[in-house]
């Protein structure tokens, strides 16, 4: 069961890109937790129908199909609770950029972190036109400004003593 849980967690970690995705998923997990105790003779995936996103419902359904979901409500609650806890503890990276990023680009950034840091991270993206270009990155208490705004500022500082 532990190996199965690790696999489920890995799947979920890969699917979550931003902090908004994480909040949304946690809300769905909480619904699954509360519906775990409601005995109506239906499976959990059936009980969650039209209450959660179809992706999440299919995810629960696949767990049921593969018999990875604990049978008693209490165990099921703990199972989801542990998943939620793990997800909440995922490292977060704050990125400040000047444009509205596409989903694909965010996935590219997430993959960059996976390849380079060997970690699944949650992106907290802030759109700030003042950045002009590049990015300001905050990770584990470190603040790294590689924005064009800073480059321009440096340029003017050298040439004219700042804007």
């Amino acid at each position: 069961m532990e190996i199965a849980k690790e696999k489920i967690l890995q799947d979920l970690k890969e699917k979550i890109i931003t902090s908004e995705d994480l909040s949304f998923l946690i809300e769905e997990i909480n619904l699954a937790k509360s519906f775990s105790f409601k005995d109506s003779g239906l499976s959990l995936s059936e009980k969650l129908k039209e209450r959660v996103s179809e992706n999440f419902r299919v995810f629960v359904w696949s767990l049921e199909k593969e018999k990875l979901l604990p049978e008693t409500p209490k165990e099921r609650f703990s199972f989801f609770d542990e998943i939620e806890e793990e997800l909440r503890n995922l490292p977060k990276v704050k990125i400040e950029i000047s444009f509205e990023p596409s989903r694909n680009f965010l996935l590219q950034v997430k993959n960059w972190f996976r390849e380079n840091l060997k970690k699944e991270v949650i992106l907290e993206v802030i759109k700030n036109p003042k950045v002009v270009g590049g990015a300001i990155v905050e990770y584990q208490g470190k603040y790294l400004d590689f924005s064009l705004a800073k480059e321009i500022d440096r340029f003017f500082a050298k040439k004219h003593g700042g804007i």
Partner: protein
């Protein structure tokens, strides 16, 4: 038959005499009857007067006693009445004092209530005035804040334009989406080299 004159004279005399006797007797009897009747009525009247006088005296005595009794009773009643009046007066004084006290208390209460109401009204009005002031101030602050934001936005937009122009000059081209994405990845690479 022929009646002699003499006989006739004698008969007349005899009838007259007889008649006179009868009349005298009748007179005597009438006189006697009258005297007896008068005497009887005199006696009766006297007796009646005496009885009347006695009755009157008796009545007078009774009247005196009744008057005395009545006087005594009246005195008792007057005393009792006086006592009652005294009590009533005392009660009245007491009641009057209580009424005055009650009126005073009531007036005091009403005055306090009026003062309280006035206080509350004053507080309410002050609250209303304060609310109006706060609202006006808040509205003014909001307007100032909006104006400030608008002006800052305008300034920011000018700065972005300038910065973009500068960036364009530095890079030699306009920053499109793919360039932006490329610059972000480059920033991450730099970050990796520096710290991460």
């Amino acid at each position: 038959m022929k009646i002699s004159k003499d006989f006739e004279e004698k008969l007349r005399e005899m009838v007259e005499k007889e008649m006179k006797g009868i009349l005298d007797e009748l007179k005597e009897r009438t006189k006697k009857f009258t005297e007896e009747t008068v005497g009887f009525y005199k006696n009766e009247t006297f007796s009646f007067s005496k009885k009347l006088e006695e009755g009157f005296l008796e009545l007078k005595e009774i009247n005196k006693e009744v008057q005395k009794k009545l006087l005594e009773e009246s005195e008792g009643k007057i005393k009792s009445l006086e006592e009652e009046i005294k009590k009533e007066v005392s009660k009245f004084i007491q009641a009057n004092s209580e009424i005055r006290k009650s009126l005073f208390e009531e007036s005091k209460k009403q005055a306090e209530s009026v003062i309280k109401n006035l206080d509350e009204e004053l507080k309410e009005n002050l609250e209303k005035v304060n609310q109006i002031i706060y609202k006006t101030l808040a509205q003014a602050e909001r307007e100032i804040e909006e104006y400030k934001k608008e002006k800052l936005k305008e300034v920011d937009e000018r700065i972005y334009k300038i910065l973009n122009e500068v960036a364009k000059n530095i890079l030699g081209k306009t920053i499109d989406l793919s360039t932006h994405e490329k610059l972000v990845i480059e920033s991450l690479e730099k970050a990796k080299k520096e710290v991460i």
